[in-house]
Every structure is written in structure tokens, then in C-alpha cells.
């Protein structure tokens, strides 16, 4: 199935509604990670609506593109986009983290078709994505692999083992997106364990790199287009705001992993819809 085309204006409306759903589903769950979900939702929305080849009616379609959400705690954003793309009804978003729900606290491929790999233990997703990209190359397939990493996740050693290996295997079909929101559980990434200069680090590891504003749809689209043309593995460092769209959550570390209470969720939703 070709990717749906959505105009920039529509994306703004669409991602507003997606943000509302993220807030509501985490509120209903009573736990979860709003900050990193709100920072990555714009990129996911552009990726799924404008670039990704997939078929919700046939999630295991062989020639689909693969998405690995290595920062698995941001799954409320992924689930929301998947619901809008038709993988499951939107109402199901409210079952997040409940017994029997396919919407597990971190993505679980056993329960939700369309999840390519179960993730959540940070640092592991990129290696899996590289394996997938190598498999596509071995079989001369043109489907692509996208892997979304958190910036705090870059502190994991396995990520650097993986980053070192992708250029060796020449996997041009691989795109990494770093959600660079500078927040992690214990504080700002720049204080907990600085990763800068991440663009230079990735370049020196042999990747093509684009640094963008991860909330600017045109920039996201431009970078994803460049990635598609690249013969080398391509990394997009998306500068984002943790909790983007809700003023009292933005850049507040506490909202990395806590659910809004009803009154907070109502305020957040009102603000998102106004904005």
C-alpha cells in the first residue's frame, strides 16, 4: 500500500488529535511515559503518513517497511499513529497497559501485529534493525528499516557497537531517528551523561547525518526524503522538546514517566486543542 498523502496543514490537525489521544490513554492507564511520546509523535506521524509502506490489513506483508521503536517506552505515540493508520480501532487506545490488551507497557510483538520487535530494554533496537536491513540487502529487497532511538539511550554501549557496524554492512536502507529531547528519568541527558556532540559522533562513525527540528514537518519530511536517497546508513538527529505541546510538561523531567491525573489531563487537552 502506498503511503497516504497528508498536507502539512492536515498534519498539524492530525498531530494535535494524536497528542490528545496520547494524554488520554496514559491518563486512563494510570502510568506511562508522556514526555518522550509527545516529543516523537510529529516524526512518527510524518513517517507513517508520507513515507512508510505498510498494509494494516496484512501487517506481515513481506515487502513492508520495518519500524523498530527502540525507545519502547514511547509506545503511546506509536500505538496512536498505528490506530490512525488503521491497525486497530482508536477506542482500543484506552486499554493501554490493561490486562489482556495488545497495547503493552512497552511494545510486544506477540500481542500486537504491526510491532516488528519487542523492545523496551534500551540499547537493543538498533542491532535488530541492522539485522533486518542486512536481510533486505541479502535478498535484494527494497523495503526500508527505520529505528527510533532516544538520546538517553545512546548511553548504552550496545548502541555504539551497532552504530559502528552499520556502515561496514553498507545498509543504505536503514534510517535511524534520534529523538533528541535532552531528558531522561534522572535528569537532563546533558547532565546525567552527556552525549554531545552527537552529530559529529555519528558522522565520524560513517553515517550520513541530518540535524533537524523534530517538530517542523517540512524539516522532518526533508530529512526522511534525504535518508531514502542515501546509499549509506542515515541518521536524523531530531532536536525535540520533551512533553511538546503541553506547556506544564515541556522540558519537565517529572513528566518522563508519570501519568496525568484527570484535572491535569483536562488542562493538557484543552491547551493542545487551543494551540
Amino acid at each position: 500500500m502506498p503511503a497516504a498523502t497528508v498536507a502539512a496543514q492536515d498534519l498539524k490537525t492530525l498531530t494535535k488529535q494524536m497528542r490528545v489521544d496520547i494524554i488520554r490513554m496514559i491518563e486512563a492507564a494510570g502510568s506511562g511515559h508522556p514526555g518522550g511520546s509527545l516529543s516523537i509523535i510529529d516524526t512518527l506521524a510524518v513517517l507513517y503518513t508520507k513515507f512508510l509502506k505498510f498494509d494494516p490489513a496484512n501487517p506481515s506483508w513481506e515487502d513492508r517497511d520495518r519500524v523498530i521503536l527502540s525507545k519502547g517506552h514511547a509506545c503511546p505515540a506509536l500505538y496512536t499513529v498505528m490506530a490512525y493508520m488503521g491497525y486497530f480501532p482508536r477506542e482500543q487506545l484506552m486499554t493501554l497497559r490493561k490486562l489482556g490488551s495488545p497495547l503493552q507497557g512497552h511494545p510486544d510483538r506477540r500481542f500486537l501485529p504491526g510491532i516488528e520487535a519487542s523492545t523496551g530494554s534500551l540499547g537493543q533496537g538498533l542491532s535488530i534493525a541492522i539485522g533486518m536491513a542486512v536481510a533486505a540487502k541479502m535478498d535484494a529487497k527494497d523495503w526500508r528499516t527505520y529505528c527510533i532511538l532516544g538520546d538517553g539511550e545512546l548511553q548504552e554501549g550496545q548502541v555504539w557497537e551497532a552504530l559502528m557496524s552499520a556502515p561496514k554492512f553498507g545498509v543504505g536502507g536503514l534510517t535511524v531517528i534520534v529523538d533528541h529531547n535532552n531528558g531522561q528519568i534522572d535528569g537532563p541527558v546533558s547532565e546525567i551523561m552527556p552525549i554531545e556532540s552527537v552529530v559529529e559522533k555519528l558522522s565520524s562513525f560513517g553515517w550520513s547525518v541530518a540535524a533537524i527540528d523534530g517538530h517542523d514537518f517540512a524539516q522532518i519530511e526533508g530529512a526522511l526524503s534525504a535518508a531514502k536517497e542515501s546509499q549509506r546508513p542515515f541518521a536524523i538527529v531530531a532536536k525535540t522538546v520533551k512533553g511538546k505541546g503541553v506547556s506544564f510538561m515541556e522540558n519537565v523531567i517529572d513528566w518522563h514517566g508519570r501519568a496525568p491525573k484527570k484535572e491535569e489531563a483536562d488542562r493538557a487537552v484543552a491547551e493542545i486543542l487551543r494551540g
Partner: protein, 313 residues
């Protein structure tokens, strides 16, 4: 003396490569030791060298498996188990078709010493859902275990020796998953036994030597090769406990978590009330020849014989 099981593994990969076009082999700078070099040379497009980066190797293998490949990755047993959490999440929890091959198991690596000895790997692997654990005793069993492993869908851990192993199976040997085979017993078969020894991997020849030594001394001992450690042949434990005064286990692994634990668990769960004497490492190892270490750490034939006759605790 026959081949090391790692050698038989390397030959089996080559033999089976054409029949398994989806087979891909991954290495982390130990292919000379894990015996995958011949495969890499003959099938360079189906071989990935990851360098000294086992976690990435495991994850890349998981990704390949999720796209229909049959990845076989190799390293020393100790270096694989050091990446347990990656094995747990990327390979096992994702229910992938990754085959993990850990060579140079246990004290049998010898002079390289403790940091290179996989002595806790089976214990950790045995606690992972979806995992299968194979430890063949000789070349014939290894060849068939590899064939089974490549045909099986799901994660498998294959544990192999650095040291050469005696051929313990006859020409009619047929590998069967989850079956502990009798590889030696007095003929004609006695009505009852002083002991049944469950052995796996490196010390299997020690168990056979002990049983042969005890026969002229008037003790009937049966030797069972536990080539599959998970799922374990609990029925065999019950069957042999019924005609044996005791069970002995011997493995080149810590006594906790491996073969000894598996036999004790089966005996306790079935309420068999049989004494189980466990031989295996109870500490870290050290540098020496494998046979010196098997002597010092209680795995050699005289130790097995002694365990058949008296309690060691």
C-alpha cells in the same frame, strides 16, 4: 580420541549449508576458534563478522531471524552468557529463530583460565522461556544436533567443547530432542544398579571410564548422556531412579543451574526419594590442562567412580 564437538559443528555447517539457504553465520572475532572459518570462506555472502561486539551480534541475528533468515552466531560460552539480557530480550522474548553456539565450555578450555570459562551459562539459559539447550557428546551427535537445530523454529543454545571427545555413539545413533540416552551399561543388563550417572558434554568420557572401572570391582553402573538439557528428560530420571541405588550427575559447569539441578528438580518433582550426587564446578576455575582441571575440580573418572560409591557431602 574423536573430534572436539566444535570441530564437528564447523563441518556440519558446511555440509548443511546448501540444504539451508536461509542459514547465515555470525561471528565476533572468534571464528578460528569456533570453527566457522570454512563456512565463512565458502559462503562469504552468508557470513557476517561483527568484531568484538557480542551484544550487537545477538541483536543483528535477531533482526535477521525476524526477516526469515536462520542465523547461527558463535562465541565462547562465557562471552555469550555475559550478554544474557540481550539474549533474553532480543532473541528469546522476541521468539526468534536465533541459534546461539557457545564453544570452549567450562574448565575444558584449560590454560586460558577462568575469564574464558563458561561455567554458569546453562543455568542462565535454562531459565529463559522458548529456549532449547543442546550439549552433544561426540561428533555424530553434534552433526545431528546441528541438523535438528537448523530445522527447528525457535532459539537454541548449542554448547560445545574445545577439547577432543571420544565417540560414544554407535553407527545407528539417531538424535532425538529431549532424550537422555544410555551410552554404556554392563552386559548382560543387570536387574539393579549401584548408580546411574547422568553426564553431559566434556566429562561424558570420564563417566564411561568410571563405569568400566567399577564393573570388575563388582559395581554395576549405567551411564546416560544428557544431550538435551532443555527440555530435560524427566522421565529418564524416574526410570533410572527406579533401578539405581543413587544418581550421579557430572558436568563441566557449576553444579547450580545445569545438569545437576535439572536431575534434582525432576527427582524432587516426581517425589522419587533418590539420592543425587552432583559433580561439577563449585567455584571459579584456574589455568592448567583440561585433564588436570577435571582432576582438581572433581570431574575425572576416579571422582565419578567415588561418587557412585559414597556420598560426597
Amino acid at each position: 580420541m574423536g573430534k572436539a564437538t566444535r570441530e564437528a559443528f564447523g563441518e556440519a555447517l558446511l555440509e548443511l549449508a546448501e540444504a539451508h539457504p536461509e542459514l547465515v553465520v555470525l561471528d565476533a572475532d572468534l571464528s578460528k576458534s569456533t570453527m566457522t572459518q570454512a563456512f565463512a570462506k565458502k559462503y562469504p555472502k552468508r557470513h557476517l563478522e561483527l568484531g568484538i561486539a557480542e551484544q550487537n551480534m545477538i541483536g543483528v541475528a535477531a533482526g535477521l531471524a525476524l526477516c526469515g533468515k536462520t542465523p547461527v552466531l558463535t562465541s565462547f560460552a562465557c562471552f555469550l552468557i555475559g550478554r544474557l539480557e540481550t539474549i533474553r530480550v532480543s532473541a528469546a522474548y522476541n521468539d526468534t529463530n536465533v541459534k546461539l553456539v557457545g564453544t570452549h565450555a567450562g574448565l575444558g578450555i584449560g590454560e586460558d583460565g577462568t575469564s574464558q570459562m563458561g561455567l554458569e551459562d546453562v543455568g542462565a539459559m535454562r531459565s529463559l522461556p522458548h529456549m532449547t539447550i543442546l550439549q552433544p557428546a561426540d561428533a555424530a551427535e553434534t552433526r545431528q544436533a546441528v541438523e535438528w537445530m537448523l530445522a527447528h523454529k525457535g532459539p537454541v543454545y548449542l554448547r560445545l567443547t574445545r577439547q577432543k571427545m571420544d565417540d560414544v555413539h554407535g553407527p545407528d545413533y539417531k538424535f532425538k530432542l529431549g532424550r537422555a540416552d544410555v551410552i554404556w551399561e554392563p552386559s548382560p543388563k543387570p536387574k539393579s544398579f549401584q548408580a546411574t550417572v547422568f553426564a553431559s558434554g566434556g566429562p561424558v568420557p570420564c563417566a564411561v571410564a568410571a563405569a568400566k572401572d567399577l564393573l570388575p570391582r563388582g559395581f554395576n553402573v549405567r551411564v546416560v548422556n544428557a544431550g538435551t538439557l532443555l527440555p530435560f528428560d524427566d522421565d529418564a530420571v524416574a526410570r533410572f531412579a527406579a533401578d539405581s541405588a543413587r544418581l550421579v550427575t557430572v558436568e563441566d559447569h557449576n553444579v547450580t543451574g545445569g545438569l545437576g539441578s535439572a536431575v534434582c528438580e525432576a527427582a524432587a518433582q516426581r517425589g522419587l526419594g533418590v539420592r543425587v550426587v552432583r559433580l561439577g564446578a563449585r567455584d571459579f576455575g584456574e589455568s592448567a590442562t583440561p585433564s588436570q582441571l577435571y582432576d582438581k575440580y572433581g570431574l575425572s573418572a576416579p571422582h565419578v567412580a567415588e561418587a557412585c560409591l559414597r556420598n560426597l557431602d
